[in-house]
Amino acid sequence: MSAAVQLEDLKMRFRNGHQALDGVDLTVEPGQLLALTGSNGAGKSTLLRCMVRLQEPTSGMVRIHEAEVTGASSRALRRIRQDVGFIFQNFNLVDRVSAFRNVTNGAIARHGSQCAVPALVPSRVRREAMDCLERVGLAHLADRRVDTLSGGQRQRVAIARSLMQRPRLILADEPVASLDPAAGTAVMELLRDISAERGITVIAALHQVDFALDYSERIIGLRAGRVELDESNDRLSAERLHELYGPAPLTDSGTRGQRR
């Protein structure tokens, strides 16, 4: 089977000169749930964002489902993004509208711009949106404005929006970092289950070691923009993973990692 994601020597340097990604090579098999770990500032967010060019990589190559992302025209890029759900730490939903409307926004790329206007959304899209909300357990809150929902509920609305894209890949940037433990567990379980039942590849940036060990099949450790660790979960000890965060866990290893 062809790879879901292929990265070759991916580099990203911010305008202030900071090298956030320093040559990342990575191949992700389809259907895997992969955890991206590393301390603050290791480059996890930058890596995920560069994959769909929410941030432009400086050099290197990104391929998603055999389509080249780097160098794609804006139209081709939209076509690629259509198959990729992106989950953010801060949910990034449209706060002032209903959960339902946020989910139908996920259908715009596939079903056309009329899905952005509630009155024009086709009936089958509306049904599918209810199915997606049902899948994340929020069908009863379809009408509720997003800014009245809890963090865990918002993140599940965001997952429903990405399900609406019928994604083959979901990129999740710290999906549970803003949530309390119970809501975080629910979201991680949801991601694992939809990955298993729909064969969706999931790459989740997780800085909590426990979540990474509990839910992923493979763990990538980043440090200062490089892949420092790449193991399948069953061969990895928690100690080895903790090492990634530096020997003295009380200091801010993130800043130290940058200076290396």
């Binding site: 603050n40 500032g41 967010s45 769909v52 929410l54 939209r78 076509r79 690629i80 993004r81 259509q82 198959d83 990729v84 759900g85 992106f86 953010f88 730490q89 801060n90 949910f91 990034n92 939903l93 449209v94 706060d95 002032r96 509208v97 409307r101 926004n105 996920g106 715009i108 790329a109 711009s113 899905c115 952005a116 206007v117 965001a158 929006r161 990405s162 894209q165 940037d173 710290e174 970092a177 800085h207 909590q208 801010d252 993130g254």
Partner: protein
């Protein structure tokens, strides 16, 4: 912004706690120290900065020059002026209600002029604002073009626009409608664009990341997010337009202003007073309506 969000993971609460403690400590120790020791008491007067000095001198020069040109407030003339104002009021009351129907009619036309001008202006402001907001503009050149256009609309006073449109489309309310529309574009275009720029970039990214094209990002995320502020701004614009539509008649752009200037010129102050009172009631009504609507929309937002 982005850095802040991504870095806010787990360390933030800790950071904030230590910071909070630190400030408390400094306050505790330094407050008594300040009272006991006597470092330097701040001077009673501080010397103005060079900039303030230049501004003050400039303003003084302008006032002196204005004096020579008649821009003065002369107490003696104020007294005689007050007397003449008394004559005016004596003539004006009781207001003459003979022509109240035609007056109300042309007041209605004035308000309709303001309403139509505002609607046209608001509708045109939306695309202008989208092009003139950094985070939604299709191209940098369009951004500057739109912002420039908005600035021109805003900086030229509506009375001047009215004079220009009277030349273009002739005397009458149509010139007034156009003048108001342009004025509203200057006002709403700017505030709509600012409100789009204030949007959380993450919300836009969230929709863009689904592969949605830019124009549906506008409909799916930008408009619903900015709608309350758009409506509130538009209501302000309608208030302003109602006020200025009264004056536009003075330069021939239709409406009640013509009636008022005719009554004044014919020294029919009692009739003028009817007009002024009618204007007062209408403007006040629009203000109240607009305030109520803004209250509803912004109040319901939280």
């Amino acid at each position: 912004m982005k850095t802040k969000h991504t870095k806010s993971d787990n360390t933030k609460p800790q950071d904030m706690k230590t910071e909070g403690m630190k400030t408390e400590e400094t306050v505790d120790t330094s407050a008594p120290a300040l009272r006991n020791a006597d470092p330097q008491t701040p001077a009673r007067f501080t010397r103005p900065s060079a900039f303030a000095f230049v501004v003050l001198v400039g303003a003084a020069a302008l006032l002196i020059h204005g004096w020579t040109q008649g821009a003065v407030v002369n107490p003696a003339e104020l007294v005689t002026g007050a007397g003449r104002l008394g004559d005016f009021l004596a003539d004006a009351f009781p207001p003459d209600l003979d022509r109240v129907l035609p007056i109300l009619q042309s007041l209605l036309v004035t308000f309709e002029m303001a309403l139509l001008g505002t609607i046209v202006g608001v509708i045109l402001s939306v695309p202008l604002a989208i092009a003139g907001a950094r985070n939604t503009s299709p191209h940098r050149s369009l951004y500057y073009l739109s912002r420039g256009f908005i600035t021109v609309c805003r900086t030229i006073p509506d009375l001047v626009w009215a004079l220009i449109f009277v030349i273009a489309v002739g005397l009458g309310p149509q010139a007034g409608v156009l003048a108001i529309a342009v004025d509203v574009m200057g006002f709403c275009g700017r505030f709509f664009a600012d409100s789009i720029e204030e949007m959380d970039n993450g919300v836009l990214e969230g929709v863009r990341a689904t592969g949605a094209p830019e124009h549906s990002v506008i409909f799916g995320a930008v408009l619903p997010t900015c709608m309350p502020s758009f409506v509130a701004t538009s209501m302000f614009a309608l208030e302003q337009a109602t006020r200025s539509s009264v004056v536009l008649g003075l330069v021939g752009a239709g409406g009640i202003g013509v009636e008022l200037s005719v009554s004044m010129a014919l020294l029919r102050y009692d009739e003028a007073m009817t007009i002024i009172l009618a204007i007062f009631i209408v403007v006040l009504g629009v203000e109240r309506l607009s305030a109520a609507m803004r209250q509803r929309i912004l109040g319901g937002g939280s």
